[in-house]
């Protein structure tokens, strides 16, 4: 699956997107964030406060409890500041 990162999360990770293959026990957005943090130090630091990370599966914003199984693209980003 593809993960896209935006705003300061993208800057802190130094990448806008990546393809990942999480293990089968990674079921939800919360699991995915924990798994990404366990993989590298930049992600561990950038996502230290999961409450500051919002998620979208394809074109829908979802809570951290959402199941990621059928998503093609998962976006992770800070709280939005549009308007």
């Amino acid at each position: 699956m593809k993960i896209k990162y935006f705003a300061w999360l993208r800057e802190r990770l130094n990448r806008g997107e990546e393809d990942v293959s999480p293990p089968p026990e990674v079921l939800t957005v919360a699991d995915l964030i924990a798994w990404l943090r366990s993989r590298d130090e930049a992600a561990e630091l950038a996502m230290q406060k999961p409450s500051l990370i919002k998620a979208a599966l394809d074109t829908q914003i979802v809570p951290h409890t959402a199941l990621i199984a059928n998503a093609k693209v998962i976006a992770l980003f800070p709280p939005m500041t549009g308007g």
Partner: protein, 150 residues
């Protein structure tokens, strides 16, 4: 109904006139224009907006449909820029047409409150002291949440 995301500047008055010209029998139209702010005590040289375009189009489209059904709008439009912008330039314009004024005011306000918290844009300010990401404000969440209980 329309959603437009663009880097190019737009003319707020011309957009408003176009919206009014295709009036479909409404009695009240509200236009809100958001501008890049820069104040003497807190100067901003450039405001850069990042967007997740696919998600923004889907989210704003859904919010327009909700505003139309909830307030009985005849139509609504959102124009939102991204990329580097300068003080005084328009960032966003929301337009709502309704049979009566209250629905037009409320529909436009609902859409703006939604854009502040639920549309995937992120603002970065360049100032004489350096760059900083704009932080989400709790009052914007409160403004959005009051529509959920209302």
């Amino acid at each position: 109904m329309s959603v437009r995301l663009q880097t190019a500047p737009f003319d707020p008055g011309a957009e408003s006139n176009l919206f009014l010209a295709s009036n479909a029998g409404g009695g009240a139209a509200v236009t809100f224009t958001g501008l890049v702010r820069s104040q003497p005590g807190d100067p901003v040289t450039t405001l850069t907006l990042e967007v997740y375009a696919e998600l923004a189009e889907a989210q704003i489209g859904t919010s327009i449909a909700e505003a139309v059904s909830r307030f009985g709008l005849i139509k609504a439009s959102v124009i939102h820029r991204f990329g580097p912008l300068h003080p005084g330039e328009p960032i966003v314009q929301v337009m709502a047409l309704a049979p009566h004024r209250r629905a037009a005011f409320e529909g436009a306000e609902f859409l703006m409150d939604f854009l502040k918290t639920d549309a995937p844009f992120w603002k970065k300010e360049a100032t004489p002291e350096g760059e900083r990401w704009v932080e989400a404000k709790p009052e914007d969440d409160h403004a959005r949440d009051r529509w959920r209980t209302g």
